[in-house]
């Protein structure tokens, strides 16, 4: 085993700590500038001076955001915590299990499957970033727009597409496996032969559909907004022509759809002797210019009629409308000459997305999760944009494509790619990892598990679930984690406690508190995780076995996990162990999950303080 030295980088939060004392407490030697075998560095890779980074090339090194883990408080406590963190890192460095700087050479080519503004924007963005792009469109050419697009904007964008974009007409994606840097993709134009791409954008052309109006309207009177020609409408010389515009009578429509209905109503109201009644459950005026349009419509004489959702009743075979006017408390009736219906942009979900067992269910693939905004899905390297995602037509789709493309470029060109270590001799080929991984990284190929070159984010879900302990994300295998926990808990005074903190929520909260000089309880071992998904029953029980009185896992709130279900998995494991806690004579609060956001520092501090007090009283 390599001899580990402590390399101390001057950090503002650590100036009162003596590096020699920390090294001694952690059972290590302090770097004296000579040759190193293995090292723990007290700062992150990004913040380390360039010279130091060069000196450490090729060495087993554990990088440590020490200032964040130490926090404030009496110097003795700070020293103890520093020693705990350093020794934990030393365990990793000594075993040589550091993030391997892996050069897997992910494929750089990008497939955009779809058509319309969103698809062209994605193709343009990927090409601008230097990627070879294939645009597989169901249409004849790139100029044809989705029904929900502005055709002018589409042809303008099509004209700007660089020559390196290869167009494959009449082609659809039929199946996909793999992950970022190594997707295998089947196109309808390619028969059985899969092609390899580094990333895939899915942007099927949008359609306009009437979705939010009551059923049973007479089809002979109905005209969708997109097919309306206001010139066709004119009232009789001696009276009025009544037209009803329905804009979300069964349930509210999205604001872009409401704005389109308002534009239709306004054009109709400006025709001679046409009286327009706009029926809606909510006036969705949030699209740019929506409120002005709403007022312009009223000024032009459009009658605004609010209807309780779904309470519009139909008479005379769907030719007459009746509803309760909420203001007058009276029933109003209208027999319009025409019914104009608001539409929403939709794109049919490709069947293979739902039928493929290796693709996560829709809600897990494209959750409404702030960490997966801007076209991202939970599968690294797969981006889903436009109507299929429910994004409003126009500018929002362009922004979505731009944001997704930048993320894609970073994934495919990232210098340091974490790669899970799979020990083939242990692997039982049960495919638990393939089913578990939210990012689509592992797949079964040629009798062993292979990982897509750029898909892993080191969340550790696979390692937590693998029944054979055959798989470990870099630096987070069971032996390493147990050994560093052991180091840490051995040094911590009673009452010993472990805080497992997710890198997206718990750890930033720990870091902000530490930066403010927060006093952590002396016996608290802070253990950073990439994601709460890494928590296994084994790890929870091991913490207790090593003397911890309390184990707290601080992960994201449900719906905020970048790995979608990492927090749920940790919660489920803690719940499933609650019965065993009683058998061990431990209170139920010995193991807890704290849902936390990065900015909820106060909540974390309160929880840890309460936990320390309860543990101290036992």
């Amino acid at each position: 085993m390599a001899k580990v030295s402590l390399v101390w980088v001057a950090t503002p939060g650590l100036i009162d700590l003596d590096p020699a004392l920390v090294a001694k407490a952690a059972g290590m030697s302090l770097d004296q500038g000579g040759l190193l075998e293995a090292a723990v560095v007290t700062t992150s890779l990004e913040q380390a001076p360039k010279q130091l980074r060069q000196r450490l090339v090729g060495l087993p090194v554990a990088w440590l955001e020490l200032a964040a883990e130490v926090g404030g408080g009496p110097q003795a406590h700070r020293l103890a915590r520093a020693a705990v963190a350093v020794s934990r890192a030393a365990g990793r460095a000594a075993k040589g299990t550091l993030p391997p700087v892996y050069a897997p050479q992910p494929a750089q080519s990008v497939l955009v499957a779809g058509a319309g503004f969103g698809a062209l924007a994605a193709a343009w963005e990927a090409a601008a970033l230097g990627h070879p792009v294939t645009l597989a469109t169901p249409f004849d050419d790139a100029v044809q727009a989705g029904a929900d697009d502005d055709p002018e904007a589409v042809s303008l964008l099509a004209a700007q597409l660089p020559a390196q974009v290869e167009l494959v007409p009449h082609s659809e994606l039929t199946r996909l496996i793999g992950g970022a840097g190594g997707f295998n993709v089947w196109l309808s134009t390619n028969g059985d032969a899969p092609q390899t791409y580094g990333a895939v954008f899915l942007a099927p052309p949008g359609e306009l559909a009437v979705g939010c109006e009551v059923d049973g309207l007479d089809p002979a009177l109905c005209c969708p907004v997109s097919e309306l020609n206001p010139e066709d409408y004119e009232g009789p010389q001696d009276g009025w022509l009544h037209v009803a515009v329905l804009a979300g009578t069964a349930e509210p429509v999205p604001s872009y759809s409401f704005s389109a209905a308002l534009e239709a109503a306004l054009a109709l109201a400006r025709r001679p002797r046409v009286q327009v009644t706009l029926l809606f459950s909510e006036a969705r005026v949030a699209a740019p210019g929506g409120e002005k349009l709403f007022r312009d419509c009223r000024e032009a004489g459009v009658l605004m009629a609010r209807v309780e959702p779904g309470k519009l009743s139909l008479r005379d075979g769907g030719r007459e409308l009746a509803w309760l006017d909420p203001l007058l408390g009276e029933e109003l009736e209208l027999a319009p000459a025409a019914l104009v219906l608001a539409q929403q942009a939709v794109a049919p979900r490709p069947a293979w997305l739902d039928n493929d067992l290796l693709i996560k269910p829709w809600d897990e693939l494209v959750p409404d999760n702030p960490r997966l905004a801007g076209g991202r899905t939970s599968r690294t390297g797969l981006y889903l944009t436009g109507a299929l995602r429910g994004t409003a037509p126009g500018d929002a789709r362009r922004a979505e494509a731009a944001s997704a493309a930048a993320a894609m470029h970073e994934v495919l060109t990232g210098k340091v790619v974490p790669m899970p270590v799979v020990r083939d001799s242990f692997c039982a080929s049960c495919l638990t990892c393939v089913r578990t991984c939210p990012h689509g990284a592992p797949r079964y190929a040629g009798e062993h598990i292979q990982c897509a070159p750029a898909a892993c984010v080191a969340c550790g879900a696979c390692a937590a679930e693998c029944p054979a302990e055959a798989i470990a994300p870099p630096g987070w295998g069971n032996p390493e984690m147990f050994s560093s926990l052991e180091w840490g808990l051995a040094l911590a005074p009673e009452p010993k406690m472990v805080l497992f903190a997710c890198a997206a929520s718990g750890m930033p909260a720990v870091a902000s508190l530490s930066a403010q000089g927060h006093e952590w309880p002396a016996g608290l071992v802070i253990y950073p995780l990439v994601c709460a998904a890494r928590m296994s029953q084994l790890l929870l029980l091991k913490s207790l076995e090593l003397g911890a009185k309390r184990v707290l896992v601080a992960g994201c709130h449900p719906g905020n996990c970048r790995s979608v279900t990492g927090n749920h998995k940790a919660m489920a494991k803690i719940t499933s162990l609650s019965g065993d806690l009683a058998a061990l004579g431990l209170p139920p609060e010995a193991m807890e999950f704290l849902p936390l956001a990065a900015n909820q520092t106060r909540e974390l501090a309160q929880k840890v303080a309460a936990m320390a007090q309860a543990a101290g009283e036992e």
């Binding site: 992150s44 990004e46 913040q47 963005e125 601008a128 970033l129 349930e251 509210p252 999205p254 604001s255 909510e282 006036a283 969705r284 005026v285 949030a286 740019p288 210019g289 929506g290 409120e291 002005k292 007022r295 909420p326 203001l327 007058l328 408390g329 409404d368 999760n369 702030p370 960490r371 905004a373 801007g374 429910g390 500018d395 362009r398 922004a399 979505e400 731009a402 944001s403 493309a405 930048a406 993320a407 470029h409 970073e410 997206a504 929520s505 930033p508 902000s512 930066a515 403010q516 994201c556 709130h557 449900p558 719906g559 905020n560 849902p595 956001a597 990065a598 900015n599 909820q600 106060r602």
Partner: protein
Amino acid sequence: MTNAQLDTPVLILGGGVAGLAAAVDLARRGVAATIIEREPRLGGRASQFCCKATEACARCGACRLGELLVQAAHLPQITIYTAALAVAAQPQGDGWRVELSPQPGGEIGPGPGRPLRERTTLNTQAVILAVGGEAFNPAGKTRFGHGRVDGVFSALELEAMLSQGALGPDGLAPAKVAFIQCVGSRDASLGRLWCSRVCCGYALRMGRVIRKLLPESQVTFFHMDVQDYGRAWEDELPELRKQMRFVRAMPGEVTAGDGRPEVTYALAGEQAIKEGFDLVVLSVGLGPPNGASALGELFGAAKDSDGFLTTDGGPAGVFVAGAAAGPRSLNESMVHGGLAASQAASRVASLTEARHG
């Protein structure tokens, strides 16, 4: 005295979520950028926002600021100056020459970025205006009593109160809370004839947080229409309707009652009601940035009919991101920052190509 000189491919004005997201996306694209922030600290308005999660994440995006700050601090392509203001700008060659002036109060804080120390001349090929929007000052709607009636707060003040933990069983525990929507938006009499888009979302979610902190409390939501807000919003609304009282009426006024604010409102077919609340929250709308006209003159940026800055129709090399271009949620602002980053990167690339080719 000659100014210090700086060169940067892209200058980003504003270190809120839109500016930070633009800088991070530029770095992902391999383009360096310099952020200048007027205030001593980065983060913009989002740094005041509370987490609105209850049983699950409310998808407000406030927690993502921390992530952006860490990324911005670590990415070598990003340079940050705080307490720095652009005071003059002129087109020069393909780009812009911008004069920066240090602002008082700049000290090195715990966050990323260093305060600007001296007057600096900065040459850049592209400028991203990400200065954010300005929330309506509720004192401008005098009849709602902000600043005059105890117990009346703006939604921004409530954000700060919630993030500081001021509300709860151990703190302020209002039994009855009212949210009044569209304060400073959808209002022709104030010349603010636009929907602020984000207020329904933030108010209902803060209402839900209050209900969780104080399960006995009653929350009333005075509104005209509930706007859409994110993809899962329609699924979320029925539950919100169960937790709170939705009243479709704009109150006439908020007055000081017997020790607590009273809200006067009218329901259809009934006489006006004066109802007491312990806490009245005014959901203030987002408007154009205060300095929009000054910035517009500085860079000749185009403005839309409401006064928000726009990229379209503006001078070459000036791009607008985030709430400066119109009311946007935090998540939308971050994605919009990505669009400005793409536009700026494209301009830098074409200028570089023209120079070498």
